[in-house]
């Protein structure tokens, strides 16, 4: 591992190379239909890194994410986050789903505080209100704190769910196709927002996506997965400079990377 900090703002050298997530020999077999969802997956994610996984439906990427989140036990292998094994849900993991999943009977701010309330009680949630308000400002929803989710647009709801994910200051962000239900313009915008938030907080993120362009524009590395059994075929490093912009989509390098990954994915389709 070469410590090669880019010309970003100076960070402690240790934090830029420290592994946050370590996954070894991970496999998952669904006993009922003897389906091997994951086969010998090995993966290390460094602090501050943005890693995406891409693959066709049923390649095991959702299973991988659930195991990483501690929502599902693996059949074999080990998952370690910040030096501690993941056996069940963890407060230092923040998750985001395809739908915003805001509770319609709670206001935006109540929704954002909900994880704190569930973990630490009502009092702790009250104390976290200022932090939650700052987060809402960060994503430009400052004026919508006391509004019910029914009055938010799809993009606004997903921004609120970003806040809910960040409120407990997680070490790891797990993103399960978070913007795939949004229209393309909103999606581009949200991707840039996500990048900005991740950079500001030096967040470590793991994104499951169907979209090649989204994966390339956001990631430092892309894991290309194939099904039957689910395994990683290639770990593609994305050498586009940061911060990324939407204009980069039109550069030759971007095109090359997309073509390469499409090729890796396409082979499976024809097999």
């Amino acid at each position: 591992m070469v410590a090669q900090p880019l010309s970003k703002d100076p960070q402690p050298a240790a934090s830029s190379t420290r592994p946050v997530y370590e996954i070894e020999r991970l496999s998952k077999t669904y006993a009922r239909n003897k389906l091997v969802a994951l086969d010998n997956v090995n993966l290390t994610i460094q602090k501050g890194e943005f890693v995406s996984v891409i693959g066709s439906s049923g390649c095991g990427k959702s299973t991988l994410l659930k195991i990483m989140a501690g929502l599902m036990p693996p059949t074999t292998g080990r998952v370690v986050l910040e030096g501690r094994p993941v056996v069940g849900s963890r407060p230092d993991i923040g998750m985001m789903f395809q739908q915003a999943t805001l509770l319609p009977w709670k206001t935006t701010i109540e929704n954002i505080l909900m994880p704190v309330e569930i973990r630490e009680g009502r009092k702790a949630a009250k104390e976290a209100t200022t932090r939650a308000m700052d987060l809402l400002q960060l994503v430009g929803l400052g004026d919508f704190a006391n509004v019910y989710p029914g009055e938010l647009s799809g993009g606004m709801a997903q921004r609120a769910s970003i806040c809910r994910m960040l409120v407990s200051d997680p070490a790891m962000l797990l993103l399960d196709e978070p913007f795939s239900a949004l229209d393309e313009l909103t999606r581009d915008f949200m991707n840039m927002e996500l990048q900005r938030i991740c950079t500001e907080r030096n967040a470590t993120a793991f994104l499951v996506t169907h979209s090649l362009a989204e994966a390339v524009i956001l990631s430092d590395r892309i894991l290309v997965m194939r099904a039957r059994p689910g395994h990683i075929v290639e770990d593609v490093r994305i050498d586009l400079p940061r911060p990324r912009t939407l204009e980069m989509i039109n550069t030759p390098l971007f095109g090359e990377i997309v073509a390469h990954i499409r090729d890796l994915l396409g082979k499976e389709a024809h097999e």
């Binding site: 929502l71 849900s89 999943t101 009977w105």
Partner: protein
């Protein structure tokens, strides 16, 4: 509408405002429509009885019915024996509904929240639910006697099942993502139930309560038909056996007020507690 050709309109840049045509039947305001329909039905009823197309014993005239409505109304206001009967039936319906809610909700929780309930309890509930529940009336009378309790039992028995089914369905209604979210933030089973599954299921539960509020009336009256006693059902049966059809009609109309009261109490509670469910917001009267 102008007679000017399109080209002229375009060159002058005038607004192209036009009115979408709406058929007459869609334009009638609610109160006019309701009045029209009422007048039509009563008019038809009057015609049919006036022309003696139907025997007076089978169908009284609107006038006779109105006279009886007034008579029964006077008796109710004066606090006569009919008010006593109505009060008996009201109590029967009230207790029956309370018991049905308590048992139905508990069983619904068991079925919707535990695998045991889903696997073991639900099949038996479905089996009992498919039986004609009114047929149990003689059993309830044999067990509980001819007073109010046997009627309460039948009313509760009929009203329980829709609440069980609705509660269980409501608990299943939370989406996979919402469950995952709660799991990922480390919510306990109880927290997930109270903060996610129950609120998500409330619209379903209220639908069950509405069905139950109709069922509990049917159960109470059936019980009074079969088991006698002092309720409104017994009055109706008595009037019917005397071929006093106008009285039967009048009694049924007053009885329907009790049903409506219960039903709209549930509707009111739903609007109060499920305020986020836009599909059921007030606006169009229920």
């Amino acid at each position: 509408m102008t007679d000017a050709p399109n080209a002229a309109t375009m060159t002058t840049g005038a607004d192209t405002v036009w009115v979408e045509h709406e058929a007459f039947i869609d334009r009638i305001p609610r109160w006019v429509a309701m009045t029209l329909l009422f007048v039509f039905v009563v008019g038809l009823w009057d015609l049919v009885t006036r022309m003696r197309w139907v025997s007076a014993i089978i169908l009284p005239t609107p006038g006779e019915t109105l006279a009886d409505l007034i008579f029964v109304g006077q008796n109710l206001i004066a606090g006569g024996y009919m008010l006593e009967a109505l009060w008996t039936t009201t109590l029967t319906v009230f207790y029956g509904f309370l018991i049905a809610v308590a048992i139905g909700f508990s069983l619904g929780l068991l079925v919707g929240e535990t695998k045991f309930g889903e696997r073991a309890v639900m099949p038996y509930l479905v089996a009992i639910d498919t039986m004609p529940k009114v047929a149990f009336a003689p059993l309830f009378i044999a067990w509980l006697g001819f007073d109010i309790s046997s009627k309460v039992a039948l009313a509760a028995f009929i009203a329980t099942f829709p609440i069980v089914v609705a509660t269980a369905a409501g608990l299943y209604a939370a989406s996979e993502n919402e469950r995952m979210l709660f799991k990922s933030i480390g919510a306990s089973r109880m927290q997930t139930l109270i903060r996610l599954k129950l609120p998500t299921g409330l619209p379903y539960i209220f639908t069950g309560l509405k069905i139950a509020s109709v069922g509990v009336m049917a159960g109470a009256i059936t019980g009074e038909f079969l088991g006698g006693g002092k309720g409104f059902g017994a009055l109706i049966r008595q009037s019917a056996s005397q071929l006093d059809t106008p009285r039967v009609f009048a009694l049924i109309l007053y009885l329907s007020l009790l049903g409506l009261l219960l039903y709209f109490t549930v509707v009111w509670a739903q609007r109060r507690f499920v305020f986020w469910n836009k599909s059921d917001r007030p606006g169009g009267a229920a």
